[in-house]
């Protein structure tokens, strides 16, 4: 149980949650009518399709594009693959390889529906068994090795070369990091395919590939044993390949995924329907794999004012929570995001930071909240930056945050140098240990600045969500409700990869996951506390 430093109006919180649920369910109806090229490629990957053709195009793209161009993707790639498996008595991988040459999936004769169903069932079970095995392996390792103490210290590596990333990640773990995020190369989110193999070149980060995931997982397993605590691995389940990355992460035992319902729309100008459909399947996969998602509300405050727009962060937390629950995620898997981004020159700014951080903490008591460091007001004065990060560390330990992304003193200058990461870990270790139980010793004045600021934010959130509930989420986004960014309903990248499902559409992986996770496809209300 977290410290109850603030008195919350539980009726208002409940009202906000109900509004967010209505908002999420309205979008959900639309999600369930559509599939996307990336959802279908994900199914192909789950059926064992791996590798690329001679031009380097992933075979998952080859089969899905072929069926899309034939105009038959609205039945689902699972059907066409299974039909081919029955017709040719070959594996999906062999079929994909042949499809990269002369084979046309949609021109094969229709096979016995029972045999086709049976094939779909077999490959689905094989994929899900592999995911379950990784989930059990994680649980066993965490049981054996234990985990770091919250706030878990989260650092990034971003060298561009997966093998250099490995060295830096191991060093960071030895210095006390609990979570390693491999930053993706700039603009990978806009690639409509997942690159293949291990990679050694990238800009501002390293390509997310299944082989790179595997290399880093192995390294972190080794260092976990060495340091005697489980080191978590994170990557980006966002952009145009959201569900495919989820699948890769589930199979290679990533532990967390940056996975936001709206981030791609707002910050990458990806089509709304595409993002909503993709995020749903990706979250089902993350839910099934026991992966903790991290949502991206911190980004709102880099474009919008952190004081005036604090309520939009909390409102988005509510929406992300509901869209997560609808997709089968449990509360312990919802790493809802927020950030320490107030102007350091602001009088009492630290008090306002405490107010919003503690408010979010108490509203989502079971969620492993993701707390992001100052970025917007980091100036290149690394000495001042180090102090700003110390204040952030203090706010985090007082308000009981769970996933703490370490601020780097060289933020806004370059991707972290080795010594930056070391200084940053030292800073966090010092502040957090020194103030470990401070929150148990204090309470906020009932009529004080922090309590009143919290009440004002909660009031704003209820009004804000009520407005969105009336308009609908898509309209609200198109009117700039979040992050001061407007995105049109039909615009954005990847819209041509959204397909209306036919009445005989099948996605056996999605069906099984929905069934096992207990989330009804007919869009009944998700579980709430």
């Amino acid at each position: 149980m977290h410290n109850q430093l603030l008195r919350l109006d539980h009726e208002k919180v409940q009202r906000a949650r109900q509004l967010a649920q209505a908002i999420a369910l309205e979008v959900q109806e639309d999600i369930l009518r559509h599939t996307t090229v990336s959802v279908e490629r994900t199914v192909a990957r789950f059926f064992g399709i791996d590798g690329t053709n001679q031009e380097g195009i992933p075979l998952a793209n080859v089969v899905v594009d072929q069926v899309l161009q034939a105009g038959h993707l609205d039945r689902g790639i699972a059907f066409w693959l299974a039909n081919a498996v029955v017709a040719l008595d070959r594996t999906p991988q062999q079929i994909a390889e042949a499809a990269g040459k002369e084979l046309r999936l949609c021109e094969l004769p229709m096979q016995d529906p029972h045999a086709v169903s049976k094939v779909m069932e077999v490959y689905t079970e094989e994929a899900l068994a592999a995911i379950r095995a990784q989930r059990q392996r994680r649980e066993a390792l965490q049981e054996k090795l234990g985990r770091g103490e919250e706030p878990l210290k989260y650092v990034i590596v971003a060298s561009g070369n997966i093998f250099a990333d490995v060295d830096q990640a191991k060093t960071a773990a030895r210095q006390g990091a609990d979570i390693i995020a491999v930053i993706r190369t700039t603009a990978q989110s806009l690639l409509d395919y997942v690159p293949y193999g291990t990679t050694t070149e990238g800009f501002g980060g390293t390509y997310a590939t299944q082989a790179n995931f595997r290399v880093m997982r192995k390294a972190l397993d080794e260092v976990s044993e060495e340091v005697g605590r489980y080191i978590h691995l994170v990557n980006y389940c966002s952009g145009l390949c959201m569900p495919e990355i989820a699948a890769m992460g589930a199979l290679e035992r990533l532990d967390m995924m940056l996975n936001d319902a709206m981030y791609g729309i707002l910050f990458r100008d990806i089509n709304m329907e595409r993002t909503f459909a993709d995020q749903y399947f990706s979250r089902l996969i993350n839910a099934y794999a026991g992966i903790v998602i991290n949502t991206g509300e911190d980004n709102y405050l880099t474009t919008a004012d952190a004081f005036e727009q604090a309520h939009t962060v909390l409102a988005s937390n509510f929406i992300n929570e509901q869209m997560g629950l609808v997709a089968g995620l449990q509360n312990w898997q919802l790493g809802l995001g927020h950030a320490f981004e107030l102007d350091p020159k602001m009088k009492n700014g630290f008090l306002y930071e405490l107010a919003i951080a503690q408010t979010i903490r108490q509203i989502f008591p079971e969620a492993p909240l993701k707390y992001m460091p100052p970025t917007k007001h980091m100036t290149g004065d690394i000495f001042m930056g180090h102090v700003q990060n110390a204040m952030f560390n203090l706010a985090s330990v007082i308000t009981g945050q769970s996933i703490h992304l370490l601020g780097m003193l060289t933020e806004a200058i370059h991707t972290p140098h080795l010594s930056d990461r070391s200084l940053s870990l030292e800073n966090a270790n010092y502040v957090m240990e020194n103030a470990r139980d401070l929150a148990k010793e204090i309470s906020f004045k009932p009529d004080g600045l922090i309590q009143r600021r919290s009440e004002a934010i909660v009031d704003q959130v209820v009004d804000f969500l009520a407005e969105i509930e009336v308009k609908g989420l898509k309209t609200a986004i198109s009117e700039g409700y979040f992050a001061d960014i407007r995105r049109s309903k039909d615009g954005g990248k990847g819209g041509d990869g959204v397909i209306l499902k036919a009445s005989d559409y099948v996605n056996p992986v999605m069906d099984r996951m929905q069934r096992e996770l207990g989330v009804s496809p007919s869009c009944e209300r998700g579980e709430t506390r």
Binding site: T186, A187, G204, F267, S419
Partner: protein, 245 residues
């Protein structure tokens, strides 16, 4: 300026002591060998009286903080920068200046180009609210500002500039690795020249790794680095446009 005043070096706590602080990592574990390597490295950088105040082992690497006194001095007479021309006008002064000297709104198109997804810098200059109490270009009554956002290909930026009859384009490059920004910025200038737009456009680049010298070298009219706010940029644009008209 006497010859004593014009030759300068870092001032720690007395004139001419040349004191600098340095922080870096060596790719070997901390120990006597690393310590000596750090000292020799600093000596080769021209530092004398090197004092290593901190050595920390980073598991296979070692972090150093050290002080030393530099043997080098800089002759101020050799630096040809006119500081008066850099004095930025205020928000109101810029608007009055544009109204009086140009008589119409200046059209400005801004973007984070290439693969860069980070709009923090561009937003600080362009957004209504601006940064650090200094309003952004969108707020200027005499500036028509268009913020195209992030990951804009160079060709789209130029196409927009043409459509909107822009007087100036602002390019922001924040996150960059292995100097990819240089390649991208060079390409933009070359494309503008190829399309015959270069002469009619004021081209400005900004970002944490950008300064005037680099910008000029790459063929831009100006470059703005850390600490820049909207009035620095607007002042430059207004004066430069008057100069070109």
């Amino acid at each position: 300026m006497s010859s004593n005043d014009r030759m300068i070096k870092p001032y720690g706590d007395s004139w001419g002591d040349g004191q600098v602080q340095l922080s870096f990592t060596l790719p070997i574990p901390a120990g006597p060998k690393a310590l000596e390597a750090a000292k020799r490295f600093a000596a080769q950088m021209g530092l004398q009286g090197v004092q290593v105040t901190h050595m920390k082992d980073l598991y296979g690497f070692s972090h150093f903080i050290l002080y030393g006194s530099s043997e080098y001095s800089i002759d101020l007479e050799q630096i040809a920068i006119n500081e008066d021309a850099d004095e930025a006008m205020s928000f109101d002064e810029v608007n009055s200046f544009i109204e009086a000297e140009i008589g119409r709104k200046i059209v400005v198109v801004g973007a984070c180009t290439g693969t860069d997804a980070h709009t923090v810098g561009l937003d600080a200059i362009m957004n209504m609210k601006g940064y650090d109490g200094d309003y952004g270009l969108e707020r200027y009554p005499m500036i028509e500002a268009h913020n195209l956002g992030s990951q804009v290909p160079n060709e789209i930026l130029l196409q927009k500039a043409r459509e909107l009859k822009a007087d100036a384009i602002l390019v922001s490059q924040v996150v960059t690795q292995k100097n990819v920004h240089i390649q991208n910025l060079t390409e933009l200038v070359e494309m503008a020249e190829a399309e015959g737009l270069r002469q009619s456009l004021i081209m400005v680049v900004g970002g944490p790794r950008i300064d005037r010298a680099l910008a000029t070298e790459l063929g831009f009219d100006a470059g703005f680095g850390p600490g820049t706010t909207a009035r620095h940029v607007s002042t430059f644009l207004a004066r430069e446009l008057v100069r070109k008209l």
